[in-house]
């Protein structure tokens, strides 16, 4: 059972604003804030929104199971995009309508009922005004919300809530490790130019518990989740045709994040990189040279005819890490057909492999874009 509601360009919207072509089209392209160096995060302030940057997201994914051992994957993502550059408010009529805003919020939620081989997806969008959507901070608490969907980040705990037609989540997430900043103090390069970058940090291991309702039937679930928070103005460069993003949680209390930016010439952009998180939460930055990713199998989407990699072999040579990644459900493709023309695969995977010749297992999430149709960045 799949659901592709509303047929609106939620993800496309997000992509659209990442698209430098769109920015180039705008006379205000240079007026957005840019990430050009270390982000020097301060928390809880930086859990909140960063207006002035073109795009920002809070990304939760996780693998859970119920007391009967049935497994589930989940995704809850909030996107913020600034639709007009900072300072333009001064040109608004006075008094301005409360509907007038510079911020647009989008959200995706998905549940993979792995044992039942069902995938549910829903999406929302609203302007950041009048309590319809927003990212607000009160004291140490940060709340990102869109309608009934919300992520509340408190000191030491995150609370996720989302109610869609076919499912509902109500999770509490407790960081098992401190957050980690990727790249150089969060400055995560996505291209050759320094401003082709984002500020990027993650909670790589969040002990998750709560209630999951599918079709009105509640189950208690537990597991681990991953949270990314990233903001930027121009993260991708022209020759990038899509990306593959991996967040893996291994049973030895380590985590691995990799993003591989595919180029039009084939191969990966030199800006592709990763972060390995040790049990102590210390991180090791991985460059593209450290990463070898081989595709072992493919899956052809019956919905879009897109051919996605379906098994991966990931080798991180400096870490002697050799992993096989296999989707827990083949069809975890998100489709927004009528308007977005951007379809992507985001789903739960199982990890098996070796680290320094020792067997190891884990779980994770992979996001793959640009397979079902051209990613069309700067094309």
């Amino acid at each position: 059972m799949r659901r592709h509601p509303n047929s609106w360009p939620v993800f496309f919207f997000f992509i659209l604003f990442l698209n430098p072509a769109i920015l180039a089209d705008s006379v205000y392209a240079d007026e957005y804030l840019k990430v050009t160096g270390p982000c020097r995060f301060q928390f809880p302030r930086d859990h909140g929104a960063h207006p002035g940057y073109l795009v920002e997201w809070w990304y939760y994914t996780g693998n859970l199971s119920d007391p009967a051992g049935k497994r589930y994957g989940f995704q809850l993502t909030f996107f913020r995009t600034q639709i007009s550059p900072p300072g333009l408010e001064s040109r608004w009529p006075d008094p301005a309508s409360a509907w007038r805003t510079t911020q647009l919020f989008l959200a995706h939620a998905a549940i993979s009922d792995l044992d039942a081989s069902r995938f549910y997806f829903d999406q929302q969008m609203a302007r950041g005004a009048l309590g319809l959507a927003g990212a607000e901070q009160q004291g140490d608490d940060t709340r990102i919300f869109l309608g009934t969907w919300s992520a509340l980040i408190k000191s030491g705990k995150h609370f996720l809530k989302a109610r869609a037609d076919n499912f509902e989540i109500n999770f509490t997430l407790v960081p098992a490790k401190p957050l980690v900043a990727h790249g150089n103090e969060g400055h995560s390069l996505k291209g050759i130019k320094p401003e082709s970058a984002s500020c990027y940090y993650s909670f790589t291991r969040l002990e998750t518990s709560g209630t999951l309702k599918i079709k009105g039937k509640p189950v208690k679930v537990r597991g681990t989740a991953w949270m990314d928070h990233e903001f930027s103005t121009a993260p991708l460069e022209p020759d990038v045709t899509g990306w593959d993003w991996f967040s893996l949680q291994l049973e030895n209390n380590t985590e691995l994040m990799i993003y591989l930016l595919r180029t039009s010439q084939g191969g990966y952009s030199s800006a592709s990189s990763g972060t390995f998180v040790l049990p102590s939460a210390r991180t090791r930055h991985l460059s593209v040279k450290d990463i070898q990713a081989d595709i072992l199998d493919h899956w052809k989407s019956p919905h879009t005819n897109g051919v996605y990699p379906s098994r991966w072999r990931i080798q991180i040579h400096p870490l002697k890490l050799d992993l096989i990644l296999e989707p827990n459900l083949a069809d975890q493709e998100l489709i927004t057909p009528e308007t977005t023309q951007v379809n992507y695969w985001e789903g739960s995977v199982s990890v098996k492999g070796k680290i320094a010749d020792k067997e190891i297992k884990g779980v994770g999430y992979i996001e793959m874009t640009g397979y079902a149709n051209p990613f069309n960045l700067l094309k």
Binding site: N6, W8, P9, F12, F13, L16, I22, I83, S84, R91, W92, P93, P95, A96, S97, A98, W99, R100, T101, T102, L104, M125, A126, R127, L130, G131, L132, G147, T148, R163, D165, E338, T339, Q341
Partner: protein, 864 residues
């Protein structure tokens, strides 16, 4: 099959040959039927077009909305949108703010600007620009992020020669502002609303333009599937006091019902032409049957059954019906173009705003028109067909065609006529059914039919009493003409009946329209009194939802002491499903300059309580539509406040689109907490000055002070009166057209009848010539026959018309529109038009007089 072929052949020999021999008669009748059918069909199609336009607009605006959150008499706070959007039963809650606005400097009519949130609205309403889908994304995004941007419908853009990226200046009472056109909408979905004269704006832009920050007209809800009654109750509990949840179809249903009732009213009126045409068919078929008695008798003697004879004669009616209907197609196609404009304009004035931009040929309407026309003709042919079956086979032995013997049923038919007229009175007392005055129309039908039935008696009476007098006036020919009228019998009476019908309708409508017009003029002078009337531009279009901006109020307050400013507040409300307006005004001050046309209630007793807000005056329309009477309580909710006061008086009021409730301004302001002005009436205290010039000067001054920044409608009392009477005349244009057509058909009836009478007596007339009568005498005789016939028709029609006018004013108007008028007869119009109709009818008799001696008497007599 063989029998059918035989019947068709027989039909050709028996009927069509006869018709071909007298084709001009047939053509005249066919023309009459065609006009009747064309009017009937084109009226219905024209109303259908308005109905389609209205329902389509309503449906497109409603989109997929399940429920609507509104505030009766006001607007909804925007903060509710977010609260509703998180309710578990709500799929989406989308705000809507609309207003009729104008392109600055253009004289054309206003267009509808729809303000909405393109994001929340996406699952409710569809719209599409001409570009690719990617462009759509950018487009609505531009709409959201850029102030003062609009997307115009292609039709609107083409009309004003506007294109994307153009800057257009729009005006609303709040301000005049420049907008950038982002793109044009393809003619589909929302772009078809209001006849395609629309623009789209983001809700933020709309609020800023109209100065309605914080408010929306309504919030449209789309609910999740399987929502229960408990969910709805929970939703209602969420709403603050004064805000209600209602179905989006309420306005649509009300408008739909009103237009359908109007359609029925017009259909019945247009049916008169067909009804008059029925007399023509009867006349022709009866003549055809009568002049072929010998042929019928021969057929009978050869074995033709009575049934065969009946079907042969009846099929003549069928033939006339089918051919008449076919001829109606080209006539109707021309007529309908004029009808559409008139009907849509009337519906816009009276009920709901419609903008017709096309015509749809509904197969059911075509079928209905065909069936009604054919049925009418068959009904008309039924009598002669029955009569033909009584022809005995032995008549075949007669040497000449014997004319039908007049049955001695004159007395019975007169009595039947009197009975029908008597029945009209109780019928007119019956209540309306779904807004249609069924009893009233039946009463009119009985009245007309009854009066027509009296025409035989009146002809016989006139033919008996008048000839001595006529002989003095016109000599022997007049005497003979009178005697002939007495003996002419039923066929003449039928033609006179047609004239009675048309004349009665004419008289009734002349009286009704005159009464209506005079009463409206009185109302305009008294109740709408004011040397200047000021309101926001397009206030009528926007149903006074916009109030006067503070700047304007300030200017009005600062006007010199020699003028009296009477502000008023006007709010559109609904009583159950009935829309009406409440008008709050300083009644004490108002009564210094104007008055109410009190219909019920004691003015002396009620004036004080009304002035102090202890009761209200309601219009006759409001009382008729709601059933509320004097002494009963009037209840209405304004936000959190509830008004609950007795109805103290019923007044005449003729504003279009619903009733009105008058209340005192100050208590209303205190009760509702709303101190805004919807408009103002301005009076000069010194009534001796040149009021027209002073009004012009003051108008110019107000325009100079504030008119540039806030579009206002400032109209002098005189201009207003002229405008209202113009609308009035426009509204009755259709009625007048129908009336003239009925008269035309009746004129055709006179021509046909007289011609038939001449032809029928051709041998007799030529014998008279042969024995010494001059052609002039013969023509004179026919002329006097015509005079008597037309006088009989006119006098009966006149009397019937007076009765009919009473029913029209006090029954049909009250039941259909809720109002009555002061009964006033337009004697001058009648005195001018009655001789005119007489003259016209006599001119209609000319072809008959010319026909008399076309052949030489000797030849005619030899042939016969």
């Amino acid at each position: 099959m063989r029998r059918l072929r035989f019947f068709i052949k027989l039909q050709f020999w028996f009927s069509l040959r006869q018709m071909r021999a007298h084709y001009w008669r047939v053509l005249a009748v066919l023309f009459g039927i065609a006009i009747g059918a064309a009017v009937f069909t084109s009226i219905r199609l024209a109303v259908d077009a308005s109905l389609d336009s209205f329902t389509q607009s309503m449906s497109l605006v409603s989109g997929k909305t399940d429920w609507v959150v509104t505030r009766p008499g006001g607007r909804v706070p925007e903060g509710l949108v977010a609260r509703l959007n998180v309710h578990p039963a709500v799929e989406t809650a989308s705000p809507l703010l609309t207003s009729y606005i104008k392109i600055f400097g253009e004289e054309a009519e206003p267009f509808l600007l729809i303000g909405m949130d393109p994001i929340l609205d996406r699952s409710l309403r569809g719209w599409q620009v001409k570009k690719t889908k990617q462009r759509d994304v950018r487009l609505w995004l531009d709409l959201v992020r850029e102030p003062n941007t609009v997307i115009l419908s292609q039709r609107l853009a083409q009309r004003y020669n506007l294109k994307p990226a153009d800057i257009v200046t729009l005006e609303h009472i709040h301000q005049v502002s420049k907008f950038r056109i982002l793109d044009t909408l393809q003619p589909q979905g929302l772009a078809l609303v209001n006849g395609g004269q629309i623009g789209l704006a983001d809700i933020s832009t709309m609020q800023e333009f109209t100065g309605l920050q914080g408010l929306v007209d309504q919030i449209d809800l789309r609910l999740k599937p399987n929502v229960t009654g408990d969910d709805l109750a929970d939703l209602k509990n969420l709403l603050p006091p004064g805000i209600i949840l209602e179905t989006p179809t309420r306005v649509k249903e009300t408008g739909d019902m009103m237009i359908r009732a109007y359609q029925l009213n017009l259909s019945l009126l247009s049916f008169v032409s067909l009804f008059v045409g029925m007399f023509l068919v009867y006349s022709l078929v009866a003549l055809n049957a009568a002049s072929r008695r010998r042929e019928v008798a021969i057929l009978r003697s050869l074995g033709g059954s009575k049934r065969l004879i009946f079907l042969l004669v009846l099929s003549e009616g069928l033939f006339l019906g089918i051919v008449g209907w076919l001829l109606a197609i080209p006539i109707g196609s021309i007529l309908v173009k004029y009808m559409v404009q008139g009907v849509s304009s009337t519906i816009s004035h009276l009920f709901v705003r419609v903008h017709v931009d096309g015509l749809r040929l509904d197969p059911w309407e075509i079928l209905l028109s065909f069936c009604v026309t054919v049925f009418i003709c068959l009904l008309a042919a039924y009598g002669p067909a029955r009569e033909a079956t009584s022809i005995a086979p032995r008549e075949a032995l007669f040497l000449q065609d014997s004319m039908p013997r007049q049955r001695r049923f004159g007395r019975q038919i007169t009595l039947l006529g009197l009975l029908l007229i008597a029945l009209a009175w109780p019928l007119s007392k019956l209540p309306a059914l779904s807004g249609v005055s069924v009893g009233g129309y039946t009463a009119i039908f009985f009245l007309v039919l009854g009066s027509s039935f009296l025409s035989l008696w009146i002809l016989q009476w006139m033919g008996s009493v008048f000839p001595p007098l006529l002989s003095r006036l016109g000599g022997e020919p007049a005497f003979l003409g009178g005697r002939f009228v007495r003996d002419a019998g039923r066929r003449t009476a039928v033609s006179v009946g047609a004239l009675v019908t048309a004349m009665a309708l004419f008289v009734a409508l002349v009286i009704m329209i005159h009464s209506f017009r005079s009463t409206v003029a009185l109302w305009v002078n008294q109740t709408l009194a004011g040397d200047l009337l000021l309101r926001p531009k397009m206030a009528g279009f926007n149903q006074y939802r916009d109030h006067l901006p503070e700047d304007v109020v300030r200017v009005l307050r600062a006007l010199p002491d020699d003028v009296q400013v009477l502000p008023f507040r006007q709010v559109l409300l609904h009583y159950a499903k009935t829309p009406y307006q409440i008008e709050a005004i300083d009644i004490k001050l108002f009564l210094n300059y104007g008055s109410f046309l009190l219909l019920k209630g004691n003015f002396e007793k009620i004036v004080d309580p009304v002035m102090t807000g202890q009761g209200v005056l309601v219009s006759e329309v409001f009382a008729s539509q709601t059933g509320l009477k004097i002494g009963q309580r009037y209840r209405a909710q304004f936000g959190k406040s509830i008004m609950n006061v007795p109805i103290l008086g019923i007044v005449r009021d003729y504003r279009t689109r619903g009733g009105v409730v008058y209340t005192a301004l100050e208590p209303f302001q205190r009760m509702s907490g709303n101190y805004e002005w919807s408009g103002a009436r301005i009076f000069f205290k010194d009534r001796r000055q040149d009021l027209k010039k002073s009004a012009e000067d003051l108008k110019a001054m107000i325009f100079r002070d504030i008119g540039q920044s806030h579009p206002l409608e400032i109209i002098s009392g005189e201009e207003l009166r002229r405008e209202i009477l113009r609308i009035f005349d426009e509204t009755f244009a259709i009625t007048t057209v129908l009336l003239l057509i009925a008269l035309l058909v009746a004129g055709l009836g006179i021509t046909t009848t007289l011609t038939v009478l001449v032809l029928e007596r051709i041998r007799q007339l030529n014998t008279m010539v042969a024995v010494g009568a001059s052609a002039g005498q013969i023509r004179s005789m026919i002329f006097w026959e015509a005079v008597l016939m037309v006088m009989a028709g006119e006098s009966l029609g006149l009397i019937c018309g007076f009765f009919m006018s009473y029913i029209l004013i006090y029954v049909i108007n009250r039941q259909s529109f809720g109002w009555t008028f002061l009964y006033q007869v337009d004697w001058s119009a009648l005195l001018v038009s009655i001789p005119l109709i007489l003259a016209t009818a006599l001119i209609a008799a000319l072809p008959a007089t010319l026909l008399v001696l076309r052949s030489s008497p000797a030849l005619v007599l030899k042939e016969s």
